[in-house]
């Protein structure tokens, strides 16, 4: 039995090594620099697979994926049609569009109209626009860090039901104007925060070793194979082996760089953020004006789990058609990155939220929501949130209610890099 296990373990290690080695097809590289980079990566993977196999023997868990952070992409939670029960502490540095397309319930299946549309932008983006300045200019970005503490949201809630289909809830028949402001009191995740300088310094140190190791590898290979610049695609087996042996001398620098880069990323992303927000959903004379003042705390508990909690005051101004309802609310949200592969920059994520609201003149409301966020591609900045919510009661109807929704979010910051002009 023991021998069989050992044989199996050996086969596993061998397969892992071979797979890692051959998965890196460097013959497709047409330029010397990328080819050398590819060969170095291949040798790093071989070394990494061996180290992984060693770790697997001790059952030590390897979890190096990144947290999703705390950038809100959905409409504010106060919007009746938001896919989120919980607001997060910050939004995109540039512009974020959230479109909650429709409920997946049969009652609205014949209605393709959006049920809410909101646009969120930072004061920083507006300030950059006012100055006709590129918001991604590092100097401008760094100098105006405090402008990224303020966010504004504008949008509209479209009635959940047409007037002809509901007479029970006049509020639900009215269009709502969504206005929101958010201030980041604690902004520890900002990359230009001097407190994050240590993480950058670590990356620069490791990058220096990595870059220097690449230089030394190149010089050593050039010494062994002087015309490597031109014949790298047609190396003999002996020459290829020589290249691998040279790379292996410096492989530690490559593996260290990966670890340092991941650690620096997690160190910043897992810091806490705290914001105060005000959101209003304003309707005409037959609908409530809803005002919400919230404290929003974000905490990256682990690289794959982010925790957000909100609490604050709620005011439902009924104007002349009913009593004003005042009170408070509290909510919490756990966002878990399902996608284990760290290569996925727009991961599939699942969040579980709970929400409670206690108001005068009305019974408490409790909601529980599960939400799956599915990215459309990896460089689009677009994702589809799909949520299922159970509510102990809806706004004016004293009965429990379950509904499913899906939406659409777009983060301009994620594609800004691709739209920037090239070198002149």
């Amino acid at each position: 039995m023991g021998i069989s296990r050992r044989v199996l373990a050996s086969v596993f290690v061998l397969v892992a090594l071979v797979t890692s080695c051959c998965a890196q097809d460097c013959t497709k590289e047409a330029q010397y620099g990328p080819w050398l980079n590819c060969r170095m990566l291949a040798r790093k993977n071989v070394a990494g697979a061996a180290a992984q196999a060693q770790l697997n023997k001790t059952n030590e868990p390897i979890k190096k994926n990144a947290t999703n952070g705390a950038r809100q992409q959905d409409s504010p939670a106060v919007s009746g049609n938001s896919n989120s029960l919980v607001d997060q502490s910050s939004a995109s540095d540039l512009v974020n569009l959230a479109l909650n397309l429709a409920k997946l319930t049969p009652t609205t299946s014949n209605n393709n109209n959006p049920t809410s549309v909101t646009v969120t932008t930072s004061a920083y983006a507006l300030y950059a626009a006012a100055n006709y300045h590129d918001p991604l200019d590092p100097d401008f970005y760094s100098r105006n860090r405090n402008w990224r503490r303020f966010f504004v949201t504008l949008g509209q809630d479209v009635p959940k039901m047409t007037a002809s289909t509901s007479t029970a809830d006049p509020h639900a028949n009215r269009y709502g104007t969504v206005i929101g402001f958010k201030t980041l009191i604690l902004n520890s995740r900002d990359i230009s925060d001097p407190k994050n300088a240590g993480a950058f310094s670590n990356v620069l140190d490791a990058l220096s070793h990595f870059s220097s190791a690449q230089d030394k590898v190149s010089v050593d290979i050039h010494t062994a194979i002087p015309d490597i610049d031109t014949k790298f695609a047609k190396l003999s087996a002996q020459e290829s082996q020589t290249v691998d042996q040279i790379i292996d001398k410096y492989v530690t620098a490559f593996t260290n760089m990966d670890q340092v880069a991941t650690d620096a990323y997690n160190q910043i992303k897992n810091k806490r953020q705290w914001a105060l927000s005000y959101t209003a959903d304003l309707r005409d004379g037959l609908g409530y004006n809803q005002h919400s003042i919230q404290s929003v705390l974000d905490w990256g508990v682990t690289p794959r789990l982010n925790w957000t909690t909100n609490f604050g005051a709620e005011i439902y101004d009924a104007k002349k058609f009913g009593p004003i309802r005042n009170g408070g609310s509290a909510s919490t949200d756990f966002q878990y990155r399902i996608t284990e592969n760290p290569k996925q920059t727009q991961p599939i994520a699942f969040s579980l939220s709970g929400y409670g609201e206690w108001l005068t003149n009305v019974a408490p409301t409790y909601k529980v929501q599960g939400k799956l966020t599915i990215p459309l591609g990896q460089k689009t900045g677009v994702s589809l949130p799909i949520s299922v919510t159970y509510a102990s009661r809806t706004d004016l109807i004293q009965e429990s209610h379950t509904e499913a929704k899906f939406g659409f979010t777009f983060d301009a910051a994620k594609i800004a890099a691709a739209l920037l002009p090239g070198v002149q």
């Binding site: 620099g33 980079n37 590092p138 230009s192 950058f200 990058l207 690449q214 010089v219």
Partner: protein, 143 residues
Amino acid sequence: MPDFGNDGTRTVTVYNPSVNPNSAAGEYLGYTLTVAGGNPAFVYTCADRDPISRSDQFPGHPKATYTWKLQKAGEVLPLIVGSDRNGYDACSVGMSFLGAVRYDLTINLCNNDGSVKKVIQQISYTSNDSRDYYAELLGVTWA
């Protein structure tokens, strides 16, 4: 499939793996690195010495454009760096995307009077994954 890292894209306009500057005639390499993002993190290294310079050593860091020169002699860090190696040398610009989303690198072979004799490399790098990094290599043989 990314060109590098988890999400990296490398777009080449001009690429030469190596260059032979005539140091006797005063030729040198002029580097320009343009950055988009909040906090650039890059290094410049050559085989025999590390690091020659890093982003946080440049006056005015962080900024949008960084320039420096590589010449045979006459070191004044970080704007002008020298290489005292005879024969083949290798130098790299290592870039981290921890605080940046795009780098545009241009390396020119320049005459003594500063005019551009030849564009050696002109390459753009983008990534939305903060863990990504890349080091662009250039072989240098001083004549």
